[in-house]
Amino acid sequence: MSDQDADAEVDVGADAETGDATGGIQFGPGQDDTGDTGPDLEAADADGRPGPTDAPGGRAPYVESPIIMTTVRVVVPFVFTFGLFVMFHGANSPGGGFQGGVIVGTVVLLLGVAFGIATTRDWIGPRIPVAVVGLGVLTFVGIGAGSVLLGGGFLEYAVYGVKDATKYGIELVELAIGAVVAGVVTGLFFAVSAGGRPGGEPE
């Protein structure tokens, strides 16, 4: 175990491991990533080759590229709209909730790549993905339970009194699923890029 510690500590920046007495790898559950106390994932991989380590806190440095930033700034609204389009068109053509949700989640990934993951995480925050996921699932279960309360079966759209209830019910469920998937993809992206968070995403 000490060999791994030595190898990984070699290239880590001086201020990376703050307050971690054992240094390097042991990553306790109490630590989170706000102080960037995680190990430097780019520092030394298994073969010992050093990676870029100059960034403060030991993250891979965010390279600011005006081309990428401008392109992303222009493209992202269209990608978002396309994601919504795919979500709405699940019934008659290829598409649906999951695919649209992944595309909408990709919007956040694009922003993260262009403007820096830490900045994007600060902008979106840890609560929004959780809230979006919760909202989506509760909408889905609400539509299902609502039809039970109105006397029909679970997810039996026809008992809702609106005209074309099946069509609108399915659309709404697709949107809810899209929200869930977008929230999950975003949350996963932030969790995995934080590096070394104990435990995977619950879903």
């Binding site: 791994q4 790898i25 990553f27 053509s93 590096g195 070394g196 995977g200 995403e201 879903e203």
Partner: protein, 126 residues
Amino acid sequence: MSAVVPVGIIDLLATRSYYLVTFLLLGVGTYTMIASDNYVKKVIGLNLFQVGVFLFFIAAAYVDGANPPLLDEPGPYVSPLPHVLILTAIVVGVSLTAVALGLVVRIYAEYGTLDDDVVREVRADE
């Protein structure tokens, strides 16, 4: 997908090619999972294995010259059921990959390496 039984190897390759690719993918996926040391490569092998299964479903559901099952399109229609099944299975596969990669990141944070042999040695010493 023809309903005729293929005669000879050329006929088999021509008509049942999708199924051959399916089993090729299953084989490659299994080999990758067993033979690679790196955990990320094992997860990739797992994904290949699952893609093989998806290809099997889709190849079985293909109908030559058929239309989507909408009222304003003429028959014959393609059954939407296998496609929906595979969409569900793809979602399942994506979430599995997500959990697997989360675990891989955590293993790297704990052990500093993604090599299966090294991790096993370290755990044997613990």
